[in-house]
Subunit: 230 residues, 4 copies
DNA sequence: GATGAATGAGGATTCATTCAT
DNA sequence: CATGAATGAATCCTCATTCAT
């Protein structure tokens, strides 16, 4: 092989590398998210992350000081505030609040529950204790806006007389708990499910929505709802 | 030293040994529960469990074949053993099924949720995938009996016309999801709570119970309930 | 630094690394053979093998999945790999079958008996029961091909009328037993020898060969042989 | 001395067992022989020996300072010189030397090969290196008299012109090697056998005897033998 | 920048041996 | 004498991290 050829190769390779170089951290974070979600922090091996990202073990540590730093980066990277978009949607919604809540829960499932993003939730619940600073960050960036959104909806329902008066500090969890549970059950291999068959998320959500609406609607509305259900 | 004294010593000493031997498994189980809950299954070192119980590494393995067996014993000791007692209570209950469900959820909180045992639930959700054997065991010993209990209650309500007809496969989760959520929120440092202040479990449960009952009661009953609430 | 210098450095350095990497397994195998033969399989510590090969514990497991795999590799390297070569030699042999058998037994001694590899035989006889996987492997890779080879020779002799008709299932051991015995006597410090002085393997084999050939030759041939011996 | 006398010895030993306390060490040695033979020295657990002897682990160490001491005691205990009796039998034998040798090999199989005593041989071959003093002892007490016996027989054959002139230092092994091989193959789970089916010892010995006699007989005798075989 | 060979601390489990009873 | 609970050294194997190339 001639020197010039070598040189040529080098530049070509370098150019290619340049492009890839900037993508590297992203590919690593991507692979890491998958694996952390699937196996948890401790059980995820650095080498496997690297392999899945198509790089060598050494490269991983070139971009992230340690496995812990990688974890933190994964969480930070994936907390993108889609909340403004969501909040806009909510404010322009025109149906009843029951319809709004039902719409919200269903579309949350499609846009979040079904995607890898839901893995983040599981990740945080599993590892929060070991990464307090990350937990605080997550709290700020995800939990609080999310809860705010639900509160707004419930407040709208109460304001319009559709929902009975409730202490929103507790009412939000009536909506949130079932969704979190759904996510966790899926990401933990169904340890909390009766049968070995995954439950049907659509039906699960439908049932929850129905019950919740029954449970929080103002008496008159509930009567109507119940009459329909019967 | 008199013969009788010798005799006395021997029995006293033997008795003491006996006591220690019989106390050992309990002490180990106790230490193990603490550490499993605090650090998770994988991150808990056998030696540390032994140390906390005041014995050496070897002694732990004298009583429990392996770390997995130790964990199973912890689960048995703290959860699965209680189901028979619980089921009995349920079968002799005399009030309405709404009262029964409310009673159940509240007393579950006191007897399980508040205790260290609840940490096992969080542990399972976090690590189930990495320890399929343990997951299967937990499923058998805890999840299935637990779900069975809830089903029985809901069935009782439906049989008596107190609850509306429901697909129990999904209805159970209306009861279970909020409880699991409560536990997880507490054992993950509140990553899923709005504020940094833990919510008041009593109030949380009260609200959930109220909403659930509203949500699942038969129309007539619900109307009455709603009237009361209003 | 010139480009050519860079080129030079890179290849030189890379080559050296390459050499080390490729030498590693061989060095480990070498160290392992020594130790396995000296101490047996169970009593040989992985770390010691690594140390003797001049690497760390971890490196050993980089090249061999487990101690068992290491052992299998040692066997493959030192014994089973040689059978094809041997079989070829046997098939192109042109003398009488008596000559062939004598040649075989003598060259087996030189190529196996005298080398460290023969220690593996003793090891297997001592520890086979405790490591069934290894025993099965050894059976497959060493015993069966070895016996096959001997059978072929005896069959050749019978086909040509040089040897009397024999049940080969038992005849093979007439050849094998003395060889195994020779190996064992050497690797067990001579516990089965009359004197404390090792017997002379050449003479031992010569005597065995002579007797065996006398013992298995067809009558006419034997008569000639005996006349010569006398 | 007849076979029935040998039986007598056995019952005497059994009677000794009756005396509980004094028999303890004997029972332990008995159990230990079994286990050492079956599993080897390292793989035999002290507790298992104790359990098989019907005593506790502690008791074992009451009688034997360590596992090594136990091993030495096992070997010493089982080296009982039955050689005088055997030598007598040989000296009064009246048939041909071929018949004598055949008789010897067959009755050795019945009296030694088939009994647990043969386990001792395997034990020594496996562990001799680790217990040099015991090995020397075994050499003195078993190997040398045994070889002497064989030598006597071969000498008798040579003296009578039945066997061809041989260097007895090597000739003994023509007789010994096949017997040792037989024992080892049985005590090592057949690692050195072609098939998984144990070979039939009777047939094995018959074939070896025939071949050996063919191999060592004086020309004239061999011719007759061969003529018969053909 | 990238690589991947090498490292070695760390953790589960076993078992000979001791010693209080 | 006998017991068996307790010990802890010993050993295989894993994996985050480093660094020579």
């Amino acid at each position: 092989m001639s020197l010039s050829k070598l040189f040529h190769d080098n530049t070509a390779v370098a150019a290619k590398r340049e492009r890839r170089k900037e993508a590297r951290p992203g590919e690593l974070l991507d692979a890491a998210l998958d694996l952390f979600v699937e196996k948890g922090f401790a059980a995820t091996r650095a080498e496997e992350v690297a392999a899945r990202a198509g790089v060598s073990k050494g490269t991983l540590f070139l971009y992230f000081q340690s496995k812990e730093e990688l974890f933190k980066a994964v969480v930070r990277e994936n907390i993108s505030g889609r909340f403004t978009e969501w909040r806009a949607e909510l404010e322009t919604f025109e149906g009843t609040t029951s319809e709004l809540l039902a719409y919200c829960m269903n579309s949350w499932w499609e846009r979040v529950g079904l995607t890898r993003a839901s893995g983040l939730t599981k990740l945080m619940m599993s590892e929060a204790k070991n990464f307090p600073d990350i937990a605080a960050f997550y709290q700020q960036e995800v939990i609080m806006p999310g809860h705010g959104l639900i509160r707004s909806i419930l407040q709208r329902g109460m304001d319009r007389g559709e929902f009975r008066p409730m202490n929103l500090d507790y009412a939000v969890y009536v909506v949130i708990a079932p969704m979190i549970f759904l996510i966790l059950s899926r990401h933990s291999g169904g340890v909390c499910l009766s049968s070995e068959i995954d439950l049907d998320p659509q039906k699960y959500i439908a049932f929850q929505v129905e019950t919740i609406l029954n449970g929080i609607s103002a008496p008159a509305v509930a009567a109507v709802a119940n009459r329909k259900a019967a």
